[in-house]
Amino acid sequence: MSGVGSAGSERPAELLLECQGLHVAYGAIQAVRGVSLSVRKGEVVALIGRNGAGKTSLLRAVSGMLRPADGRITLEGKDITGMPSHLLVARGMAHAPEGRGIFPNLTVEENLGLGAWLRTDADGVAADEAWVLSLFPRLKERWAAAAGTLSGGEQQMLAISRALMSRPRLLLLDEPSLGLAPQVIQLIFRILADVNGKGVSILLVEQNAHLALNLAGHAYVLETGEVAMEGAGKALLQSEDVRRAYLGE
């Protein structure tokens, strides 16, 4: 592992999420091999890497969809290794999974409502609903439509909005730009910057390294299940290796 430009980049001090020596395996297949990384409070952290590098597997272990084979995960200092997903939501984590994970037979309204499943503060939920609809007005126009009839971009907006409805402190996003038109991607990344401005920390998995590294304060490059590089987002953007391998230059 090599650090890039870490000298000048100041990360926030307070730890939100920390993985130490994380291993994830599917039977004999080792998808994540001893990854240590952290998300500090208020940060956007990007995780980039090629297809099959283990990015999705890592997010799944963090959000309790998979039990790690080894290693330790802490959230706000508390051990959450192997904790089931539904308990992590109550602890402030939201995960918009790979492939968006919207419920096609449920309406946009119902999908969004499920995002607030654990919340009992009706007023707060209504306010957050108004907020996400102001971020993505398009969703209001499709309010009563079955989510399966939405376009890919609209589905992604719904997936992000639904994750925000739990009012998370940590948002995990798995390739929000996948398969979307450039304008939609621009919109979504502008909004992610907004959301982060409201104090939501983000762990962002992306193929689109350029966008991700521009947004992220800190970033990790994953190669075959291991952290190959880490550093400030802007510093990685300048790095020769990253430019050659991930920015197609």
Binding site: H86, G101, P104
Partner: protein, 306 residues
């Protein structure tokens, strides 16, 4: 004309009872993608609980509205408990295992229960059929065409109970918070969990609901056919399963339509040919529907965007 009308009445009355059982198959399939082959046997157990409580009421001076309601309630509550036990201890440990494992377990439970109930010790009833007490005194409710067509009071009650239970389920699934979670779990339980939904609990409650509906159906079958026996669950259960597949397994309205159609078709074929055809009809109908529409009448081949 009078024959025809009588067959319609009988077919609807049988079909709505099948529907209650078919709903259990389809709901469990919805949340677990598992054909719960023990479902019919749960129904049979519920019928015997109803039988035992009916005997008690009979000894204490007959049946009124309250005792009939109590019979339904006891039997449905008992089955909900049995459903919970089966899910918790037989299926949940196998949830992440290959589907075939759970399927074989289901068939195993089915055999264990249906043959276990044919043993003759303790509370087990033994192999001989029993006559279900006449909890509702059979009377014509309406006669038409100079008395050639009869609508019986028990048919009306059975129809009303079945429709009431189905309407309740429909409301629960499509109008309540729990129903929304159920539909989410049924599409993808991992994503549902990511939203904070306690999926194990949703699945357990779904099992309990399906089992309670089956118990209600069991009592209605017993009122209709009088004879009850340990193998009734396997027989009626299999047909209800066929109805669920005809309607499109996993689809709630589909199960109801499939079951009513099956009830009608069965009644008509038997009415106009011979009663020995009854059991062949269900499977003939199943093959026909699956040839024409492999996903069932209401099943959808869902195309999802990636």
């Amino acid at each position: 004309m009078s024959d025809f009308l009588q067959h319609v009445i009988n077919g609807l009355s049988a079909g709505t009872i099948y529907a209650l059982v078919a709903l259990g198959y389809t709901m469990v399939y919805g949340v677990l993608k598992l054909i719960n082959f023990a479902h019919g046997d749960v129904m049979m157990m519920g019928t015997y609980v109803g039988y035992a409580s009916a005997l008690q009421f009979k000894q204490r001076g007959g049946f009124g509205m309250a005792s009939v309601l109590a019979i339904f309630f006891l039997s449905m509550a008992a089955c909900a408990a049995v459903g919970w036990l089966i899910e918790r201890f037989a299926y949940r440990p196998l949830r992440e295992k290959p589907k075939l494992t759970a399927l074989i377990t289901a068939i195993g439970i089915s055999f264990a229960v249906s043959y276990g109930f044919q043993m003759d010790w303790g509370f087990l009833p033994g192999p001989n059929p029993r006559a279900f007490p006449e909890v509702i005194r059979r009377q014509p409710w309406l006669t038409l065409l100079d008395g050639e067509v009869t609508l019986w009071n028990w048919q009306v009650i059975s129809f009303a109970v079945a429709l009431g239970l189905m309407a309740g389920l429909q409301y629960l699934v499509f109008r309540t918070r729990f129903g929304r979670a159920m539909r989410a779990v049924s599409h993808d339980h991992r994503t549902a969990a990511l939203l904070g939904i306690h999926t194990d609990r949703v699945i357990a409650v779904t099992f309990m609901l399906g089992s309670a509906l089956a118990a209600g159906a069991g009592i209605l079958f017993a009122i209709k056919d009088v004879k009850i026996e340990p193998l009734m669950g396997t027989q009626q259960g299999l047909k209800a399963f066929v109805a669920a597949v005809i309607g499109g397994i996993g689809n709630v309205p589909g199960a109801v339509v499939g079951a009513v159609l099956l009830g009608l078709v069965e009644e008509f074929v038997v009415g106009y040919t011979a009663s020995s055809w009854r059991d062949a009809v269900a499977f003939g109908f199943l093959i026909l529907v699956l040839l024409l529409r492999p996903e069932g009448l209401f099943g959808r081949v869902t195309a999802e965007k990636v």
